[in-house]
């Protein structure tokens, strides 16, 4: 009956119908894949660099520690916007900060970040 034919590929209707799959390749690659969570974390990490404001903040901080107001002035943006982004960068451990009186000085968390920025710059210069 038609009923029986239908159930053969049940569940694949909304996805690719997977007729053309090269099983040997797929199975081998499946084994070597990192954990799902790890790839999520990696995407989240790169997402930070995927915004012009954050990239500019990181670049600015790669040259000197700086207070929030300095950054806002340099980038010609509102203090609140900068502060919000600094929070994101802080949460992702890309920047650190120290308070001196009323002023808070931000700086890059470690040299690793400059390496990644440079690597990216190298790639787009082609």
């Amino acid at each position: 009956m038609a009923e029986e034919e239908k159930t053969i590929r049940d569940g694949d209707i909304d996805q690719c119908d997977f007729i053309c799959v090269h099983e040997n390749v797929v199975n081998q690659v499946l084994k070597a894949m990192p954990k799902e969570q790890q790839l999520m974390d990696l995407a989240d990490f790169f997402k930070i660099f995927g915004d012009p404001t954050r990239i500019r903040i990181l670049y600015v901080l790669s040259q000197s520690q700086m207070c929030v107001c300095d950054i806002a002035n340099l980038l010609q943006m509102g203090q609140s916007a900068i502060s919000h982004q600094l929070r994101v960068l802080k949460q992702m451990r890309l920047v650190k900060f120290k308070r001196e009186g009323k002023t808070v000085f931000y700086s890059l968390a470690d040299g690793h970040i400059q390496t990644i920025l440079a690597q990216g710059m190298e790639h787009i210069s082609e």
Copy 2:
């Protein structure tokens, strides 16, 4: 009059009021900043890596060339979704492709990309 006082800082109302700026630092950093467009391009480049689906596609392709259907199967996603993302990756020159009959095989554009993935992985493993 109050009118005169107001005009002193006219235009800065919606931004930071820039009272606390350390001018010497700001001016020096301003000179060493890359062009605006270059930073935009850099952000656009990293934005590609900032999506779980694209990261997974790149990871999969780092291990073997593969057709669209293989990738969809591996990632358990619709063929259309994969195809859309492959277009983005293609436009950004992160993947290349070759047609063989009905099948289109995708692969990483160059080894540079694996380096960046590895660099990111290294950073989040801490």
